[in-house]
């Protein structure tokens, strides 16, 4: 490893994309690039985080993100502990902050947290003196997902500057949408959100996006089509009448895709509901779908984030009593 490390961004925590500078984001993406080839080689392991401890604290079920963080930390030589909430004392009534302070006392270098309530990770970060990475909090942010999406696009298109991006589907319940709206705009892309009005957050246009209720106009001439999962588990009451109606009007198929640019990329943060928000033919279209590339970039981005937060000589970062 002779690549220069001078440009490694320094952050106390990674809680969200909102408020990050374009330089910080570019720096994290540059750092991620270093790891893409390493992840493809036979010897995938480096000792950047040797001796460091990373705790994956997941209050919400997740296979993909947790595995991705675990692989990322292990490839950098860190010791990784997975906290499975279903068997932990959280179920016995211990509060979020008690859990945080208990884990903090074990002196981890980073805690990767997913929680089903917006703001829970911010709260936790105020009470520990190690780095905290938000692996998704409620409907708020999922910053590493936005970074991996940004990296995927940047590698395919060279830059995000001036691109037209359509984020489609269940915007209301999506932390991925919020993080991506911030990241794409910070990096110079224009963002549209497309979906039924019942799945649009109030005043979302004030985040600087264009709002479309129709896939035909929403996808017109876009460079990137990002489909979101319909989050039926977060829905109380009726947001859409039926899955078949949703797919008919808001599901992505080749017909709806015709109005987009011919080389438009198709993205999905996963897990996909085939036949709900995306047709299998489109999802598996090797010419256009970058869905598996997103997963690959995820490991590299999380390695970069861990290095930026707890790499180097420091082992106590962003201490907040």
């Amino acid at each position: 490893m002779t690549k220069k490390r001078a440009g490694v961004p320094r952050l106390p925590h990674l809680l969200g994309i909102e408020g990050l500078s374009p330089e910080t984001i570019s720096g994290l993406l540059d750092l991620s690039e270093n790891y893409i080839d390493q992840n493809k080689s036979i010897d995938k392991r480096r000792d950047v985080l040797s001796g460091r401890t990373v705790i994956n604290l997941f209050f919400e079920n997740s296979t993909r993100t947790r595995t991705s963080f675990e692989v990322a930390a292990k490839r950098l030589g860190a010791d990784v502990i997975n906290m499975d909430v279903a068997t932990s004392s959280v179920r016995k009534g211990e509060t979020l902050l008690d859990t945080a302070m208990t884990l903090n006392a074990m002196r981890p270098d980073a805690i990767v947290v997913r929680h089903n309530e917006s703001g829970a990770v911010n709260l936790l970060s105020q009470k520990v003196n190690c780095a905290v990475i938000n692996a998704g909090d409620g409907q708020h942010e999922h910053p590493t997902q936005a970074l991996l999406d940004g990296l995927t696009i940047r590698r395919r298109r060279g830059s995000l500057q001036g691109l037209e991006v359509a984020i489609c589907g269940d915007i209301l319940h999506s932390r991925v949408a919020r993080s991506n709206i911030h990241l794409f705009q910070i990096m110079g892309a224009r963002v549209r959100v497309v979906g039924p009005p019942t799945l649009m957050p109030t005043d979302v246009d004030r985040m600087g996006v264009e709002v479309h209720y129709n896939m035909k106009t929403g996808l017109k001439d876009v460079d990137i089509v990002m489909m979101l999962r319909l989050q039926t588990e977060r829905m109380q009451g009726s947001f859409v009448p039926s899955i078949s109606e949703y797919f008919r009007f808001f599901g992505l198929d080749h017909e709806k895709l015709k109005v987009a640019k011919p080389d438009a990329l198709i993205m999905h943060p996963g897990p996909m509901n085939r036949g709900v928000e995306i047709d299998s033919e489109v999802a598996d279209d090797l010419d256009r779908s970058v869905i598996h590339e997103q997963v690959e970039m995820g490991v590299a981005v999380r390695m970069a984030c861990l290095e930026a937060l707890i790499g180097g000589q420091r082992n106590q970062i962003g201490a907040v009593a």
Binding site: T95, L96, E117, G119, H140, T202, D203, V204, R206, M207
Partner: protein, 449 residues
């Protein structure tokens, strides 16, 4: 804040003169340099010319040195943890906080455990107030059994036991038929119904709808949920002729709807709480759970409309909406946090911002803090009148300080105003002629000559 509570002050006897005061008379809509004479716990006389040439010998005389003297605040929306959650606040700790805040009468919400839907609980509050010997304490009766919005509570029996008005606290009565019957039935007792207008099916969110909620990823409670219920209640009040008072008005649309109803001659009244004219939804940025209230803090345009409503009299009264919450209720993710903030000690300084910013005169402010709520709820205090109880507050309207939650007298410290620079400090609180709170900086009376 350094001052002391005087629980053991004996009943007032004889005469005491408060001279050299800046008298704030909400009833007369006037403000002047003058004096107030108290005899045996009641206001015996007051005016600009009283004792103009010095207090007569033989009576206790207290020189206010130009400080303001106004009728004590009548706070008609206070929740304590007694009975049920004494670890959050007791009637005694709330009484002390009220005294420090210049509040001389408070009306306690019925949403305790158990709720005040039984006459014995109204009597319990009265008995505790007599033991505690601080501010006057009154209680609401529940409007419906268990505050469930289904069956009418025993409004007549509760009124007989001393309930001064009826409400389901922060629970809106969703069923229009129940509300209609409540307004009709209460007419038999000329009882005041206080209702928090929130359409429940629309108000399940955790903060006001809008850009901030969208950014934070929190589910929203739209301003519409309030005005829909305001409009329903106005229709029901018009139809039944019942006495309706709408609580904690927080949106521009509600202020407009109530102004229109008043213009039509309806006898509807309303109040707002201090946070709704002093804060907007930016106060919950970074997931500050101390700013989580019912209704939620609204947008800036709503805050401004509430200020306008207070100026033009659409909004009749200001309440603290004191609701203590302990750390376990607030140091959790925003959506899980209990709503509510303590407000007894900040009510006066926050309200004085309306005066310092030129929106209201001092007498107009004390109409909304003291005389109007007292009149609406039929309470004896809150006014400057011969024969009225000597419930008074002496305060320095200009004294600058900074709210520090750790210095609050309330048992819990969940103020949405933490670290806010404010102006206005209570120097003495007088209930029935007894000085129950005195700031160290306020002169002790010259010994009776």
């Amino acid at each position: 804040m350094s001052g002391s509570i005087h629980k053991s002050a004996p009943p007032h006897a004889g005469s005491t003169a408060y001279i050299n005061a800046r008298i704030v008379d909400p009833g007369g809509d006037a403000e002047y340099r003058g004096a107030v004479l108290i005899s045996d716990g009641k206001i015996a006389d007051f005016g600009p010319n009283l004792f103009a040439s010095g207090a007569p010998y033989g009576i206790e005389s207290i020189d206010c040195r130009g400080l303001c003297l106004a009728p004590g605040i009548v706070d008609t929306r206070v929740h304590t943890g007694e009975p049920g959650e004494e670890h959050k606040e007791t009637l005694e700790s709330a009484g002390a906080a009220a005294a420090v805040g210049g509040i001389t009468s408070m009306v306690l919400l019925p949403d305790n455990e158990p709720p005040f839907d039984d006459a014995s609980l109204i009597e319990f509050v009265a008995r505790r107030a007599r033991q505690i010997k601080l501010v006057n304490m009154y209680a609401y009766g529940a409007l419906t059994v268990g505050l469930e919005g289904k069956e009418l509570a025993e409004i007549g029996l509760l009124a007989e036991a001393g309930a001064v008005a009826f409400t389901d606290a922060d629970h809106a009565v969703a069923n229009a038929q129940v509300m209609r019957r409540a307004l009709y039935y209460a007419k038999a007792f000329d009882a005041l119904i206080v209702h928090l207008p929130q359409e429940p099916t629309l108000s399940g969110g955790h903060m006001t709808s809008g850009e901030m909620a969208t950014r934070l990823g929190l589910s929203g409670n739209p301003p519409l949920a309030e005005v829909m219920m305001v409009e329903r209640d106005i229709r029901l009040a018009e139809m039944t002729g019942g006495r309706l008072h709408l609580a904690k008005i927080s949106t521009a649309e509600s202020v407009a709807a109530i102004a229109a109803a008043k213009a039509r001659g309806l006898k509807i009244t309303c109040d707002t709480a201090a946070p709704y004219f002093a804060l907007n939804d930016l106060a919950v940025g970074d997931y500050r759970t101390f700013g989580k209230l019912v209704p939620p803090l609204r947008a800036e345009k709503d805050r401004q409309a509430v200020v306008e409503g207070l100026k033009d009299g659409t909004i009749d009264a200001i309440v603290s909406d004191h609701r203590p919450q302990d750390q376990d209720s607030k140091r959790v993710p925003f959506a899980q946090a209990e709503p509510g903030g303590v407000g007894l000690e900040t009510l006066l300084p926050i309200s004085l911002e309306l005066v310092h910013n030129g929106h209201l005169t001092l007498p107009r402010l004390f109409q909304r803090l003291s005389s109007m709520p007292a009149a609406l709820f039929g309470l004896p205090g809150g006014r400057l009148a011969k024969g009225a109880p000597a419930d008074l507050v002496v305060f320095d309207a200009d004294h600058a300080w900074k709210v520090d939650r750790y210095e609050l007298w309330s048992k819990t410290k969940n103020t949405p105003f933490d670290e806010r620079p404010v102006q206005g400090r209570v120097m003495a609180t007088i209930v029935g002629g007894r000085t129950i709170y005195r700031d160290d900086g306020f002169a002790v009376s010259a010994a009776a000559a």
